[in-house]
């Protein structure tokens, strides 16, 4: 996907954030009443992939997914789809998605929650890449002196 919209960006960050991190960064204000449009529910979804990233599509397998939709007091609909079966995580992510759509709070929330999460996630990703890189084997062949 090229150039995700700002909302796609924060939704993808929220979807990857574990509950402990969400709870640490986000405390719902007591007077904010969210309406549950779709209560958190867990189901299966089929993951599709392309062989080699560009080839023919195939079904990689099924994964567990929890989804939730809430409406904020300002009337914004917040959607969340998270991997696994943590309902609370899905609910928090949906609430944040709804709040982030309010232009008045967006900047604050982006810098307080989304950016720290994004930094953590990219750090974790590069650490994992580095770990994988250390096991990488470079094959090389000696050039035979034929010319």
């Amino acid at each position: 996907m090229q150039n995700p919209t700002p909302r796609q960006h924060w939704m993808s960050i929220l979807a990857r954030a574990p509950r402990a991190q969400l709870c640490a960064l986000y405390r719902p204000e007591p007077d904010t009443e969210f309406e549950l449009i779709r209560a958190p529910e867990t189901g299966l979804t089929q993951v599709r992939a392309r062989s080699g990233g560009t080839g023919a599509q195939f079904n990689l397998g099924d994964m567990t997914l929890t989804r939730c939709v809430v409406r904020s007091p300002a009337g914004h609909l917040g959607y969340a789809f998270v991997a696994g079966r943590d309902r609370q995580q899905a609910r928090l992510a949906a609430e944040l998605d709804a709040l982030l759509q309010e232009s008045a709070r967006q900047t604050q929330l982006l810098s307080d929650i989304i950016e720290p999460l994004a930094r953590q996630q990219s750090a974790a990703r590069s650490a994992r890449d580095a770990e994988a890189d250390s096991t990488k084997v470079d094959f090389f062949t000696l050039v035979r002196g034929e010319d």
Partner: protein, 207 residues
């Protein structure tokens, strides 16, 4: 809040739809029995029992035909969101149809199943008024699931629907199943039920 906003569905989709399903099963197996169906909120213009019924019975494998009265953005959006169903404009394709009393001028075109697959016949959800003896039609039901006879009062059935009920063609097991809905109430008249008109309204029913 505009009329096409999303509203909340069942609080607990698994248990709430199981409870609704139990009620629908009872209404279907004991034709003429009134049961209650509830959903926390209802799209504007739709009866609560209709919305509960749709959330319980419809999913991506069922096609719903909406009558012009119900073919509105608010109802359509909420049904798509909560049931994941597909809507159809073709009567022949519909597994379920939703209409209001007085709207259906003909039942032509709705599927009645085939002799090999009678279960593919259409189920008609009809919003009517199920009031007491003063309403216009008193129907006597008998057949499977009914000990003797049972009487129900319905108003606003159009000629073709009444005709379908009273003069069922001898095409069993093919046919149309009818679900009558009034706010939270549901009464079912499956195709196995024999229906006749009471001799007259009101007067003869006073005991």
């Amino acid at each position: 809040m505009s009329s096409d906003t999303l509203i909340r569905g069942f609080d607990d989709s698994v248990h709430d739809s199981q409870q609704c399903f139990r009620q629908i099963l009872r209404a279907m197996s004991e034709p003429g029995t009134q049961v209650q169906l509830c959903s926390p909120a209802t799209p504007e213009g739709l009866a609560p029992a209709s919305f509960a019924l749709c959330q319980t019975l419809l999913d991506s494998d069922t096609r719903l035909w909406l009558s012009p009265e119900f073919d509105r953005p608010g109802i359509e959006r909420n049904l798509r969101f909560h049931c994941g169903l597909s809507l159809t404009g073709q009567r022949e394709e519909a597994h379920f149809a939703l209409a209001r009393q007085g709207e259906l001028q003909t039942l032509e075109g709705f599927g009645r199943g085939s002799p090999e697959y009678p279960e593919t016949g259409m189920t008609l959800l009809l919003e009517v008024s199920l009031e007491g003896p003063r309403s216009s039609h008193c129907l006597t039901l008998s057949g499977p699931g009914i000990d003797g006879e049972r009487q129900i009062y319905v108003s606003g059935l159009t000629g073709p629907v009444l005709d379908e009920l009273l003069n069922r063609q001898d095409s069993f097991p093919q046919g149309i199943d009818l679900m009558l809905i009034d706010q939270h109430q549901l009464i079912c008249i499956p195709r196995t039920t024999r229906v006749s008109s009471c001799l007259s309204t009101a007067a003869t029913e006073v005991r």
